[in-house]
């Protein structure tokens, strides 16, 4: 009976695969090609696109707004690697094995339920001139109460990274917790018996064994920070004078505010190239099933 193998169902299979594959190709891949083509044209949506060669790319690399945006995006990448990944790991490690670990982690997960816009609204309120943060600093007699948090660059980028970190740390802590739970107990016990403890134990044993989770969290942080849009758009809209833009915001501004589709497309291409390069880090791991990368389950979602 088993002679009728699955290969007999090719036509049926295409009825299942076809719709999804066709939609993905038409809705996701064709636009990528269209954007690539537009990046070599001058186009504002009304008249037909005019081929201009690499002029948009030349203009882009001479544009102070783009160059500033590039620096800001780099700060976002480094900042979200140090703060949310670092503190996320710290929270996972400190809470691991504690009796009330689940409850202790809840405060860090609550901000995850907020959207990027809601976080931006909230922190825009907290960080306004003379706002809650300034009042708290003044109350405790600390310096900085007259700081204009969102007006000066690169300070505005830094505080927005802190706002994003406040939101994102819980998920990182969750991913690291899953990673810690999957570390085999025996080598840790052996190291402990050999006298390793505290930071030494972490550095020599836990950190190497945690590598699958670290790869995913780090890859995810890089990719997500490259695509930063919501929080910046909600808090400063890239301003004042475009000094706090990220590449995602610059693309939006050039295209939909300044109606320069060609330049906007060139920025989109640039952003895509570095994002795809960064994605390769964790996609390879994500695609290798049964490799213990159970954290990959929610990574694609968070990145989408």
């Amino acid at each position: 009976m088993t002679s009728k193998s699955s290969t007999d169902y090719q036509r049926g299979a295409w009825a299942f695969l076809g719709p999804g594959a066709a939609l993905v190709v038409i809705v996701l891949y064709l636009p990528v090609i269209y954007t690539l083509v537009l990046s070599f044209t001058r186009y504002g949506g009304l008249a037909d696109p005019v081929f201009v060669g690499g002029a948009n790319y030349v203009e882009m690399f001479a544009d102070p707004a783009f160059l500033g945006s590039l620096v800001n995006t780099a700060i976002w990448v480094v900042g979200t690697l140090i703060i949310p990944v670092g503190i996320g790991l710290l929270i996972a490690y400190l809470s691991f094995g504690l009796r009330w670990a689940g409850i202790l982690r809840i405060p860090f997960l609550i901000p995850y339920a907020l959207s990027g816009v809601a976080v931006g609204v909230l922190f825009g309120f907290v960080l306004q001139n003379g706002g809650a943060l300034s009042q708290a600093l003044a109350f405790f007699g600390l310096p900085g109460s007259d700081t204009r948090w969102l007006q000066e660059s690169p300070l505005n980028t830094v505080v927005m990274i802190l706002a994003a970190s406040w939101q994102g740390i819980g998920v990182n802590a969750l991913l690291f917790t899953v990673g810690l739970q999957s570390i085999p107990k025996e080598p840790l016990e052996a190291a402990r018996i050999d006298g390793a403890s505290g930071f030494t134990l972490f550095r020599t044993m836990v950190w190497p064994l945690l590598r699958p989770s670290t790869t995913i969290v780090v890859g995810l942080s890089i990719v997500n920070s490259l695509k930063t849009f919501d929080i910046v758009q909600a808090m400063t809209q890239g301003g004042p004078n475009r000094v706090s833009e990220t590449l995602g915001v610059t693309m939006y501004k050039d295209t939909f505010v300044n109606s320069d589709y060609g330049l906007g497309s060139a920025v989109a291409i640039f952003l895509s190239v570095i994002t795809v390069a960064a994605s390769v880090i964790y996609l390879r791991r994500q695609l290798s099933i049964g490799n213990g990368s159970d954290a990959g389950r929610i990574t694609a979602e968070v990145s989408s």
């Binding site: 299942f16 636009p31 269209y34 202790l104 609550i110 809601a118 990959g296 979602e301």
Partner: protein
């Protein structure tokens, strides 16, 4: 080894710091416009004023229509993506379609590009074919953007189901369609739920696509509306209404997260296959 007590204390203190912005959100969403003082932002609010502000959000802003549009997108699009993704996983793993991995790879890589790479063509083409600023247009894009992740999870899930399940069903005379809808879909309810929950959260929170592809009240979801409230209401006392709106739009995703943690955990466990 740092003692358990010290670790607990560190985490508790850090956790309290983490809750401070939430306190400020609740405290100032709970102040009436009259009571609001720019000098007393740390003072607690009151429940009565919070309810008054909720009333103001529902009567004085576009948030109600935005919530309706958002709810539509966040419920329907992930459902479509779940079915499309399950069908892809079924074709690749169970029916072993030729070059299945290649097709799966092509579909999965649809998530690699940032949305900024596609949003201008969507806007341009939608404006030409009349899908700009329509609910159908938004549903199509949200569904397709969510499909690769769905296919990824469902492929992993199906590869953990024994082949004998399919063979037994064939022996019993069931057709492929029937096997998919009556056996494989019900078996994968938990994986489907995980995908649905995560993608619904993403659609709910989206700003980029909704900002660019919608403009009228019937189609515009709540996130761009919330963002626009900041300039509509201005600073100062207007913040009481804006913060209340931020609170309201966050409640559905917060509840979803709270009540489906079980599925999150199960979703994480799926990776063991």
């Amino acid at each position: 080894m740092i003692s358990r007590v010290v670790r607990t204390v560190i985490l508790a203190v850090l956790g309290l710091i983490w809750l401070v912005p939430i306190y400020l959100l609740l405290a100032n969403a709970g102040k009436s416009v009259a009571d609001y003082s720019g000098d007393a932002l740390w003072e607690p609010g009151s429940i009565g004023a919070l309810f008054a502000n909720v009333g103001e959000v529902f009567t004085g802003t576009d948030v109600p229509s935005g919530l309706a549009a958002t709810a539509l997108y966040a419920l329907v699009a992930p459902a479509i993506a779940v079915v499309l993704g399950a069908a892809i996983g079924f074709a690749v793993i169970v029916l072993r379609v030729k070059h299945g991995f290649f097709w799966f790879f092509v579909i999965f890589c649809g998530t690699v590009f940032p949305l900024q790479m596609m949003v201008l063509p969507w806007f341009d083409v939608y404006a030409r074919i009349g899908l700009f600023d329509t609910q159908g247009g938004m549903l199509l894009i949200y569904s397709v953007v969510a499909t690769p992740f769905s296919a990824f999870v469902m492929r992993n899930f199906f590869s953990g189901i024994s082949e004998s399940v399919f063979e037994a069903a064939v022996v019993d005379g069931a057709g492929v369609w029937r096997i998919f809808t009556r056996i494989y879909l019900p078996m994968s309810a938990s994986a489907l739920a995980v995908v649905f929950i995560l993608q619904a959260t993403w659609v709910w929170n989206d700003l980029l696509l909704s900002l660019i592809l919608t403009q009228s009240p019937e189609t515009r979801p709540v996130m761009p509306l919330l963002n626009a409230l900041q300039s509509v209401e201005g600073g100062g006392p207007g913040y009481t209404v804006i913060l209340t709106a931020a609170l309201i739009v966050s409640i559905p995703t917060a509840l979803l997260f709270l009540f489906t943690q079980r599925f999150f955990q199960r979703g994480l466990a799926l990776g063991q296959y």
